[in-house]
Subunit: 221 residues, 2 copies
DNA sequence: AGATTTCCTGATTTCATAGTCAGGAACCGG
DNA sequence: CCGGTTCCTGACTATGAAATCAGGAAATCT
Protein backbone atom coordinates (compact mmCIF):
# COMPACT_ATOMS: atom_id res chain seq x y z
CA UNK A 1 0.00 0.00 0.00
CA UNK A 2 2.57 2.53 1.05
CA UNK A 3 5.27 2.14 -1.57
CA UNK A 4 7.91 4.46 -0.15
CA UNK A 5 8.74 6.03 3.18
CA UNK A 6 10.45 9.41 3.43
CA UNK A 7 13.85 7.78 3.15
CA UNK A 8 13.63 4.71 1.00
CA UNK A 9 14.44 1.97 3.48
CA UNK A 10 14.36 -0.85 0.96
CA UNK A 11 17.74 -2.45 0.34
CA UNK A 12 17.29 -2.86 -3.39
CA UNK A 13 17.05 0.44 -5.20
CA UNK A 14 19.05 2.12 -2.51
CA UNK A 15 21.88 2.91 -4.87
CA UNK A 16 19.55 4.76 -7.20
CA UNK A 17 17.88 6.63 -4.37
CA UNK A 18 21.20 7.68 -2.93
CA UNK A 19 22.44 8.85 -6.29
CA UNK A 20 19.30 10.92 -6.68
CA UNK A 21 19.75 12.38 -3.22
CA UNK A 22 23.32 13.42 -3.95
CA UNK A 23 22.31 15.24 -7.08
CA UNK A 24 19.26 16.74 -5.43
CA UNK A 25 21.22 18.08 -2.48
CA UNK A 26 23.77 19.69 -4.72
CA UNK A 27 21.22 21.30 -6.99
CA UNK A 28 18.83 22.41 -4.28
CA UNK A 29 21.66 24.02 -2.37
CA UNK A 30 23.04 25.88 -5.35
CA UNK A 31 19.83 26.97 -6.98
CA UNK A 32 17.11 26.85 -4.38
CA UNK A 33 13.91 24.87 -4.44
CA UNK A 34 12.11 26.45 -7.37
CA UNK A 35 15.00 26.79 -9.72
CA UNK A 36 15.55 23.04 -9.58
CA UNK A 37 13.55 20.82 -11.92
CA UNK A 38 12.90 17.15 -11.34
CA UNK A 39 13.80 16.55 -14.95
CA UNK A 40 17.18 18.13 -14.34
CA UNK A 41 17.87 16.01 -11.30
CA UNK A 42 16.71 12.90 -13.14
CA UNK A 43 19.02 13.61 -16.02
CA UNK A 44 22.02 14.26 -13.78
CA UNK A 45 21.28 11.06 -11.88
CA UNK A 46 20.77 9.12 -15.11
CA UNK A 47 17.23 8.00 -14.36
CA UNK A 48 13.84 8.93 -15.72
CA UNK A 49 11.82 11.65 -14.11
CA UNK A 50 9.05 9.41 -12.77
CA UNK A 51 11.70 7.46 -10.89
CA UNK A 52 12.03 10.41 -8.56
CA UNK A 53 8.34 10.09 -7.81
CA UNK A 54 8.77 6.41 -7.17
CA UNK A 55 11.43 6.86 -4.50
CA UNK A 56 10.21 10.15 -3.08
CA UNK A 57 6.58 11.06 -3.42
CA UNK A 58 6.96 14.61 -4.61
CA UNK A 59 9.39 17.46 -4.87
CA UNK A 60 8.89 18.59 -1.28
CA UNK A 61 9.58 15.12 0.06
CA UNK A 62 12.67 14.90 -2.07
CA UNK A 63 13.88 18.20 -0.68
CA UNK A 64 13.38 17.08 2.90
CA UNK A 65 15.02 13.74 2.24
CA UNK A 66 18.02 15.52 0.78
CA UNK A 67 18.21 17.74 3.84
CA UNK A 68 18.14 14.73 6.12
CA UNK A 69 21.43 13.64 4.63
CA UNK A 70 22.83 16.77 6.24
CA UNK A 71 21.21 15.94 9.55
CA UNK A 72 23.67 13.09 9.97
CA UNK A 73 26.52 15.55 9.52
CA UNK A 74 25.10 17.87 12.14
CA UNK A 75 24.55 14.99 14.53
CA UNK A 76 28.16 13.94 14.25
CA UNK A 77 29.27 17.50 14.87
CA UNK A 78 27.08 17.62 17.93
CA UNK A 79 28.64 14.41 19.23
CA UNK A 80 32.10 15.89 19.00
CA UNK A 81 31.01 19.11 20.66
CA UNK A 82 29.41 17.17 23.46
CA UNK A 83 32.68 15.45 24.19
CA UNK A 84 34.21 18.86 24.84
CA UNK A 85 31.33 20.01 27.00
CA UNK A 86 33.46 20.57 30.09
CA UNK A 87 36.14 22.70 28.51
CA UNK A 88 36.11 26.50 28.78
CA UNK A 89 33.52 28.12 26.55
CA UNK A 90 36.12 29.91 24.47
CA UNK A 91 37.88 26.64 23.75
CA UNK A 92 34.60 25.09 22.74
CA UNK A 93 33.89 28.02 20.44
CA UNK A 94 37.21 27.70 18.75
CA UNK A 95 36.60 24.03 18.29
CA UNK A 96 33.14 24.73 16.93
CA UNK A 97 34.61 27.06 14.35
CA UNK A 98 37.16 24.47 13.31
CA UNK A 99 34.39 21.93 12.90
CA UNK A 100 32.26 24.43 11.04
CA UNK A 101 35.03 25.05 8.54
CA UNK A 102 35.70 21.36 8.11
CA UNK A 103 32.04 20.64 7.49
CA UNK A 104 31.62 23.59 5.20
CA UNK A 105 34.39 22.37 2.94
CA UNK A 106 33.19 18.80 2.98
CA UNK A 107 29.49 19.56 2.65
CA UNK A 108 29.20 22.98 1.04
CA UNK A 109 25.53 22.32 0.45
CA UNK A 110 24.74 22.98 4.09
CA UNK A 111 25.95 26.54 4.15
CA UNK A 112 24.36 27.32 0.84
CA UNK A 113 21.01 25.98 1.93
CA UNK A 114 21.10 28.01 5.12
CA UNK A 115 21.97 31.13 3.16
CA UNK A 116 19.28 30.55 0.57
CA UNK A 117 16.42 29.77 2.88
CA UNK A 118 17.65 32.05 5.63
CA UNK A 119 17.22 35.00 3.31
CA UNK A 120 13.88 33.92 1.90
CA UNK A 121 12.11 32.92 5.09
CA UNK A 122 9.02 30.75 4.88
CA UNK A 123 8.13 27.23 5.79
CA UNK A 124 11.29 25.61 4.55
CA UNK A 125 13.29 27.86 6.86
CA UNK A 126 11.01 26.84 9.72
CA UNK A 127 11.67 23.22 8.89
CA UNK A 128 15.41 23.78 8.75
CA UNK A 129 15.35 25.61 12.05
CA UNK A 130 13.52 22.78 13.74
CA UNK A 131 15.37 19.87 12.23
CA UNK A 132 18.80 21.09 11.32
CA UNK A 133 20.28 24.37 12.33
CA UNK A 134 18.12 25.78 15.14
CA UNK A 135 19.40 23.65 18.00
CA UNK A 136 22.97 24.00 16.83
CA UNK A 137 22.71 27.78 16.59
CA UNK A 138 21.12 28.13 19.99
CA UNK A 139 23.78 25.92 21.54
CA UNK A 140 26.46 28.07 19.93
CA UNK A 141 24.82 31.23 21.20
CA UNK A 142 24.89 29.77 24.68
CA UNK A 143 28.59 29.02 24.40
CA UNK A 144 29.20 32.56 23.22
CA UNK A 145 27.21 33.89 26.17
CA UNK A 146 29.41 31.92 28.54
CA UNK A 147 32.58 33.02 26.81
CA UNK A 148 31.49 36.63 27.15
CA UNK A 149 30.66 36.11 30.79
CA UNK A 150 34.10 34.61 31.29
CA UNK A 151 35.63 37.74 29.79
CA UNK A 152 37.08 35.92 26.81
CA UNK A 153 34.88 37.44 24.10
CA UNK A 154 34.02 41.04 23.49
CA UNK A 155 30.44 41.66 24.62
CA UNK A 156 28.44 41.77 21.42
CA UNK A 157 24.91 40.35 21.06
CA UNK A 158 25.48 36.58 21.06
CA UNK A 159 22.96 35.80 18.33
CA UNK A 160 24.40 38.31 15.90
CA UNK A 161 27.88 37.22 16.83
CA UNK A 162 27.15 33.58 16.02
CA UNK A 163 25.57 34.36 12.69
CA UNK A 164 28.35 36.74 11.76
CA UNK A 165 31.01 34.14 12.54
CA UNK A 166 29.24 31.61 10.39
CA UNK A 167 28.57 34.05 7.58
CA UNK A 168 32.22 35.04 7.52
CA UNK A 169 33.42 31.46 7.62
CA UNK A 170 31.06 30.26 4.91
CA UNK A 171 31.20 33.36 2.72
CA UNK A 172 34.13 32.44 0.55
CA UNK A 173 32.96 28.84 0.34
CA UNK A 174 29.40 29.68 -0.64
CA UNK A 175 30.46 32.37 -3.04
CA UNK A 176 33.02 30.30 -4.91
CA UNK A 177 31.33 31.07 -8.26
CA UNK A 178 31.55 34.77 -7.50
CA UNK A 179 35.23 34.54 -6.70
CA UNK A 180 35.81 32.71 -9.92
CA UNK A 181 33.76 35.13 -12.00
CA UNK A 182 35.05 38.29 -10.36
CA UNK A 183 38.67 37.46 -9.53
CA UNK A 184 39.51 34.35 -11.49
CA UNK A 185 40.38 32.79 -8.16
CA UNK A 186 39.51 29.23 -7.18
CA UNK A 187 38.87 29.19 -3.43
CA UNK A 188 38.64 25.44 -3.44
CA UNK A 189 42.28 24.96 -4.32
CA UNK A 190 44.13 23.39 -1.38
CA UNK A 191 46.31 26.42 -0.75
CA UNK A 192 43.36 28.78 -0.80
CA UNK A 193 41.48 26.51 1.59
CA UNK A 194 44.29 26.50 4.09
CA UNK A 195 44.67 30.26 3.86
CA UNK A 196 40.97 30.68 4.37
CA UNK A 197 40.84 28.51 7.46
CA UNK A 198 43.76 30.44 8.92
CA UNK A 199 42.09 33.70 8.10
CA UNK A 200 38.85 32.78 9.80
CA UNK A 201 40.40 31.39 12.95
CA UNK A 202 43.14 33.96 13.26
CA UNK A 203 41.59 37.19 12.03
CA UNK A 204 37.84 36.80 12.33
CA UNK A 205 37.57 34.75 15.48
CA UNK A 206 40.66 36.52 16.78
CA UNK A 207 38.95 39.86 16.35
CA UNK A 208 36.27 38.88 18.82
CA UNK A 209 38.69 37.90 21.54
CA UNK A 210 39.33 40.22 24.45
CA UNK A 211 42.87 41.33 25.21
CA UNK A 212 42.86 39.08 28.20
CA UNK A 213 41.90 36.05 26.18
CA UNK A 214 44.27 36.97 23.39
CA UNK A 215 47.17 36.81 25.81
CA UNK A 216 46.43 33.22 26.88
CA UNK A 217 45.49 31.96 23.46
CA UNK A 218 48.11 29.25 23.33
CA UNK A 219 45.92 26.87 25.35
CA UNK A 220 43.60 26.48 22.41
CA UNK A 221 45.84 24.63 19.99
CA UNK B 1 7.98 51.07 -32.99
CA UNK B 2 10.02 50.57 -29.85
CA UNK B 3 7.50 51.14 -27.08
CA UNK B 4 9.80 50.78 -24.09
CA UNK B 5 13.53 51.07 -23.46
CA UNK B 6 15.27 49.10 -20.70
CA UNK B 7 14.41 51.77 -18.17
CA UNK B 8 11.17 53.43 -19.13
CA UNK B 9 12.30 56.94 -19.93
CA UNK B 10 8.81 58.31 -20.55
CA UNK B 11 7.71 60.86 -17.97
CA UNK B 12 4.13 59.67 -17.76
CA UNK B 13 3.82 56.18 -16.37
CA UNK B 14 7.03 56.63 -14.49
CA UNK B 15 5.31 56.33 -11.16
CA UNK B 16 3.91 52.94 -12.07
CA UNK B 17 7.18 51.74 -13.47
CA UNK B 18 9.06 52.82 -10.40
CA UNK B 19 6.54 51.13 -8.13
CA UNK B 20 6.98 47.94 -10.10
CA UNK B 21 10.73 48.21 -9.89
CA UNK B 22 10.64 48.61 -6.13
CA UNK B 23 8.56 45.51 -5.69
CA UNK B 24 10.58 43.59 -8.24
CA UNK B 25 13.88 44.43 -6.60
CA UNK B 26 12.62 43.35 -3.22
CA UNK B 27 11.19 40.09 -4.45
CA UNK B 28 14.03 39.19 -6.77
CA UNK B 29 16.53 39.78 -4.00
CA UNK B 30 14.70 37.71 -1.44
CA UNK B 31 13.60 34.83 -3.61
CA UNK B 32 15.80 34.77 -6.65
CA UNK B 33 14.78 34.99 -10.25
CA UNK B 34 12.75 31.82 -10.67
CA UNK B 35 10.86 31.91 -7.42
CA UNK B 36 9.41 35.26 -8.36
CA UNK B 37 6.27 35.34 -10.49
CA UNK B 38 5.20 38.30 -12.57
CA UNK B 39 1.73 37.85 -11.19
CA UNK B 40 3.07 38.22 -7.68
CA UNK B 41 4.93 41.39 -8.51
CA UNK B 42 1.90 42.78 -10.32
CA UNK B 43 -0.32 42.11 -7.35
CA UNK B 44 2.09 43.69 -4.88
CA UNK B 45 2.43 46.70 -7.15
CA UNK B 46 -1.33 46.91 -7.64
CA UNK B 47 -1.26 46.60 -11.39
CA UNK B 48 -2.23 43.90 -13.81
CA UNK B 49 0.31 41.40 -14.97
CA UNK B 50 0.44 42.55 -18.61
CA UNK B 51 1.44 45.98 -17.34
CA UNK B 52 4.81 44.55 -16.46
CA UNK B 53 5.21 43.51 -20.06
CA UNK B 54 4.23 46.95 -21.20
CA UNK B 55 6.92 48.72 -19.19
CA UNK B 56 9.58 46.01 -19.37
CA UNK B 57 9.53 43.58 -22.24
CA UNK B 58 9.99 40.39 -20.31
CA UNK B 59 11.08 38.97 -17.00
CA UNK B 60 14.78 39.17 -17.80
CA UNK B 61 14.52 42.84 -18.75
CA UNK B 62 12.59 43.54 -15.59
CA UNK B 63 15.31 41.86 -13.56
CA UNK B 64 18.04 43.91 -15.18
CA UNK B 65 16.06 47.12 -14.81
CA UNK B 66 15.61 46.39 -11.13
CA UNK B 67 19.33 45.81 -10.77
CA UNK B 68 20.11 49.11 -12.46
CA UNK B 69 18.37 50.84 -9.59
CA UNK B 70 21.22 49.49 -7.48
CA UNK B 71 23.80 50.70 -9.94
CA UNK B 72 23.02 54.26 -8.88
CA UNK B 73 23.76 53.31 -5.30
CA UNK B 74 27.08 51.78 -6.25
CA UNK B 75 27.98 54.81 -8.34
CA UNK B 76 27.37 57.12 -5.42
CA UNK B 77 29.52 54.91 -3.20
CA UNK B 78 32.26 55.02 -5.78
CA UNK B 79 32.08 58.81 -5.88
CA UNK B 80 32.62 58.99 -2.14
CA UNK B 81 35.47 56.50 -2.25
CA UNK B 82 37.12 58.46 -5.03
CA UNK B 83 37.15 61.55 -2.89
CA UNK B 84 39.25 59.67 -0.35
CA UNK B 85 41.60 58.26 -2.96
CA UNK B 86 44.68 59.90 -1.49
CA UNK B 87 44.26 58.72 2.08
CA UNK B 88 46.15 55.70 3.40
CA UNK B 89 44.75 52.41 2.17
CA UNK B 90 43.73 51.27 5.61
CA UNK B 91 41.71 54.44 6.13
CA UNK B 92 40.03 53.92 2.78
CA UNK B 93 39.20 50.36 3.74
CA UNK B 94 37.64 51.40 6.99
CA UNK B 95 35.62 53.99 5.14
CA UNK B 96 34.58 51.41 2.57
CA UNK B 97 33.31 49.17 5.33
CA UNK B 98 31.33 51.99 6.87
CA UNK B 99 29.79 52.73 3.49
CA UNK B 100 29.11 49.07 2.92
CA UNK B 101 27.22 48.81 6.18
CA UNK B 102 25.25 51.96 5.47
CA UNK B 103 24.28 50.77 2.02
CA UNK B 104 23.46 47.29 3.25
CA UNK B 105 20.99 48.62 5.76
CA UNK B 106 19.46 51.06 3.32
CA UNK B 107 19.38 48.72 0.34
CA UNK B 108 19.38 45.19 1.71
CA UNK B 109 18.46 43.92 -1.72
CA UNK B 110 21.99 44.42 -2.96
CA UNK B 111 23.61 42.03 -0.52
CA UNK B 112 20.91 39.45 -0.98
CA UNK B 113 21.23 39.52 -4.76
CA UNK B 114 24.97 39.10 -4.56
CA UNK B 115 24.56 36.18 -2.20
CA UNK B 116 21.90 34.52 -4.31
CA UNK B 117 23.54 34.81 -7.67
CA UNK B 118 27.04 34.50 -6.26
CA UNK B 119 26.20 31.00 -5.07
CA UNK B 120 24.36 29.95 -8.20
CA UNK B 121 26.75 31.21 -10.82
CA UNK B 122 25.55 31.57 -14.38
CA UNK B 123 24.84 34.41 -16.71
CA UNK B 124 23.11 36.63 -14.22
CA UNK B 125 26.22 36.52 -12.05
CA UNK B 126 28.30 37.46 -15.09
CA UNK B 127 26.01 40.39 -15.69
CA UNK B 128 26.25 41.49 -12.07
CA UNK B 129 30.00 41.20 -12.13
CA UNK B 130 30.25 43.36 -15.20
CA UNK B 131 27.71 45.99 -14.32
CA UNK B 132 27.50 46.12 -10.56
CA UNK B 133 29.89 44.44 -8.21
CA UNK B 134 32.93 43.42 -10.20
CA UNK B 135 34.66 46.80 -10.47
CA UNK B 136 33.85 47.59 -6.88
CA UNK B 137 35.27 44.30 -5.63
CA UNK B 138 38.43 44.60 -7.64
CA UNK B 139 38.97 48.14 -6.41
CA UNK B 140 38.52 46.94 -2.84
CA UNK B 141 40.96 44.10 -3.39
CA UNK B 142 43.48 46.65 -4.62
CA UNK B 143 43.03 48.75 -1.50
CA UNK B 144 43.51 45.65 0.63
CA UNK B 145 46.67 44.82 -1.27
CA UNK B 146 48.03 48.26 -0.55
CA UNK B 147 47.05 48.08 3.09
CA UNK B 148 48.87 44.78 3.41
CA UNK B 149 51.92 46.21 1.69
CA UNK B 150 51.83 49.11 4.12
CA UNK B 151 51.88 46.65 6.98
CA UNK B 152 48.44 47.65 8.23
CA UNK B 153 46.57 44.45 7.40
CA UNK B 154 47.53 40.88 8.11
CA UNK B 155 48.72 39.25 4.88
CA UNK B 156 45.79 37.09 3.79
CA UNK B 157 44.76 36.61 0.15
CA UNK B 158 43.17 39.96 -0.76
CA UNK B 159 40.28 38.47 -2.74
CA UNK B 160 39.23 36.12 0.01
CA UNK B 161 39.70 38.87 2.54
CA UNK B 162 37.39 41.24 0.69
CA UNK B 163 34.66 38.65 0.26
CA UNK B 164 34.92 37.55 3.87
CA UNK B 165 34.60 41.11 5.12
CA UNK B 166 31.52 41.64 3.02
CA UNK B 167 30.00 38.29 3.92
CA UNK B 168 30.49 39.02 7.60
CA UNK B 169 29.07 42.51 7.32
CA UNK B 170 26.04 41.47 5.31
CA UNK B 171 25.39 38.17 7.05
CA UNK B 172 23.14 39.37 9.82
CA UNK B 173 21.36 41.73 7.44
CA UNK B 174 20.72 39.15 4.75
CA UNK B 175 19.75 36.49 7.23
CA UNK B 176 17.25 38.58 9.16
CA UNK B 177 14.53 35.97 8.62
CA UNK B 178 16.81 33.30 10.06
CA UNK B 179 17.54 35.38 13.13
CA UNK B 180 13.85 35.92 13.64
CA UNK B 181 12.96 32.27 13.15
CA UNK B 182 15.83 30.84 15.17
CA UNK B 183 16.33 33.38 17.91
CA UNK B 184 13.26 35.57 17.93
CA UNK B 185 15.63 38.47 17.43
CA UNK B 186 14.97 41.39 15.10
CA UNK B 187 18.31 42.55 13.72
CA UNK B 188 16.67 45.54 12.09
CA UNK B 189 15.79 47.17 15.39
CA UNK B 190 17.84 50.35 15.83
CA UNK B 191 19.77 49.05 18.83
CA UNK B 192 20.64 45.82 17.06
CA UNK B 193 21.77 47.75 14.00
CA UNK B 194 24.11 49.93 16.00
CA UNK B 195 25.53 46.93 17.82
CA UNK B 196 26.05 45.17 14.53
CA UNK B 197 27.91 48.06 12.93
CA UNK B 198 30.15 48.28 15.99
CA UNK B 199 30.76 44.57 15.87
CA UNK B 200 31.79 44.57 12.24
CA UNK B 201 34.09 47.56 12.46
CA UNK B 202 35.57 46.77 15.85
CA UNK B 203 35.79 42.98 15.92
CA UNK B 204 35.77 41.79 12.33
CA UNK B 205 37.74 44.56 10.65
CA UNK B 206 39.77 44.90 13.83
CA UNK B 207 40.75 41.26 13.62
CA UNK B 208 42.46 41.85 10.31
CA UNK B 209 44.59 44.73 11.55
CA UNK B 210 48.22 44.20 12.38
CA UNK B 211 49.49 45.13 15.83
CA UNK B 212 51.24 48.09 14.32
CA UNK B 213 48.08 49.39 12.74
CA UNK B 214 46.04 48.62 15.84
CA UNK B 215 48.25 50.95 17.84
CA UNK B 216 47.64 53.95 15.60
CA UNK B 217 44.00 53.28 15.00
CA UNK B 218 42.80 56.62 16.36
CA UNK B 219 43.55 58.36 13.05
CA UNK B 220 40.65 56.53 11.46
CA UNK B 221 37.73 58.16 13.23
C1' DA C 1 11.01 -22.73 -13.73
C1' DG C 2 7.29 -20.05 -12.12
C1' DA C 3 5.40 -16.62 -9.01
C1' DT C 4 5.98 -12.42 -6.67
C1' DT C 5 7.86 -8.28 -5.39
C1' DT C 6 10.81 -4.44 -6.40
C1' DC C 7 12.27 -1.10 -9.43
C1' DC C 8 11.87 1.78 -13.31
C1' DT C 9 9.86 3.97 -17.61
C1' DG C 10 6.97 6.05 -21.67
C1' DA C 11 2.95 8.24 -22.33
C1' DT C 12 -0.26 11.29 -20.57
C1' DT C 13 -2.63 14.75 -17.68
C1' DT C 14 -2.78 18.87 -15.01
C1' DC C 15 -1.47 23.17 -13.69
C1' DA C 16 1.06 27.45 -13.02
C1' DT C 17 3.06 31.11 -15.30
C1' DA C 18 5.43 33.77 -19.09
C1' DG C 19 4.16 36.12 -22.89
C1' DT C 20 0.60 38.05 -26.68
C1' DC C 21 -3.02 40.87 -28.43
C1' DA C 22 -6.89 43.67 -29.29
C1' DG C 23 -9.21 47.15 -27.21
C1' DG C 24 -10.41 50.72 -23.94
C1' DA C 25 -9.60 54.60 -20.80
C1' DA C 26 -7.08 58.55 -19.46
C1' DC C 27 -4.50 62.24 -20.89
C1' DC C 28 -2.92 65.25 -23.98
C1' DG C 29 -2.24 69.25 -28.00
C1' DG C 30 -4.84 71.55 -31.32
C1' DC D 1 -14.46 68.98 -29.07
C1' DC D 2 -11.32 65.78 -31.38
C1' DG D 3 -7.40 63.13 -33.20
C1' DG D 4 -3.51 61.02 -31.25
C1' DT D 5 -0.57 59.22 -27.88
C1' DT D 6 0.37 57.00 -23.60
C1' DC D 7 -0.91 53.81 -20.36
C1' DC D 8 -3.23 49.89 -18.80
C1' DT D 9 -6.31 45.67 -18.82
C1' DG D 10 -9.14 41.24 -19.73
C1' DA D 11 -9.03 37.38 -22.33
C1' DC D 12 -6.21 34.30 -24.49
C1' DT D 13 -2.21 31.17 -25.92
C1' DA D 14 1.94 28.59 -25.25
C1' DT D 15 5.14 26.28 -22.58
C1' DG D 16 7.45 23.88 -19.20
C1' DA D 17 7.41 21.27 -15.23
C1' DA D 18 5.08 18.38 -11.51
C1' DA D 19 2.45 14.56 -10.86
C1' DT D 20 -0.13 10.11 -12.36
C1' DC D 21 -0.56 5.54 -14.18
C1' DA D 22 -0.40 1.33 -16.57
C1' DG D 23 2.84 -1.73 -17.83
C1' DG D 24 7.27 -4.01 -18.38
C1' DA D 25 11.94 -5.56 -16.97
C1' DA D 26 14.78 -7.26 -13.37
C1' DA D 27 15.69 -9.20 -9.22
C1' DT D 28 14.25 -12.49 -5.46
C1' DC D 29 12.04 -16.27 -3.53
C1' DT D 30 10.08 -21.13 -3.41
Amino acid sequence: MTPTPEWSATPKGEATASRILDVALDQFSRLGFERVTLGGIAQAAAVSQPTLHYHFQDKAHLWRSAMLALAAVIAEEERLMDAARDMPAIVQLRMAMRLFLQISWKHPALGRIVALEGMAGGERLEWLDRHLIGPRNRRLAQIVREAIAAGDLKPFPPEQLVITLQAAAAGVINLAPLLRAGFGVDPEAPAARAAHDDMILEAVLGGFLTEKSRATREQTT
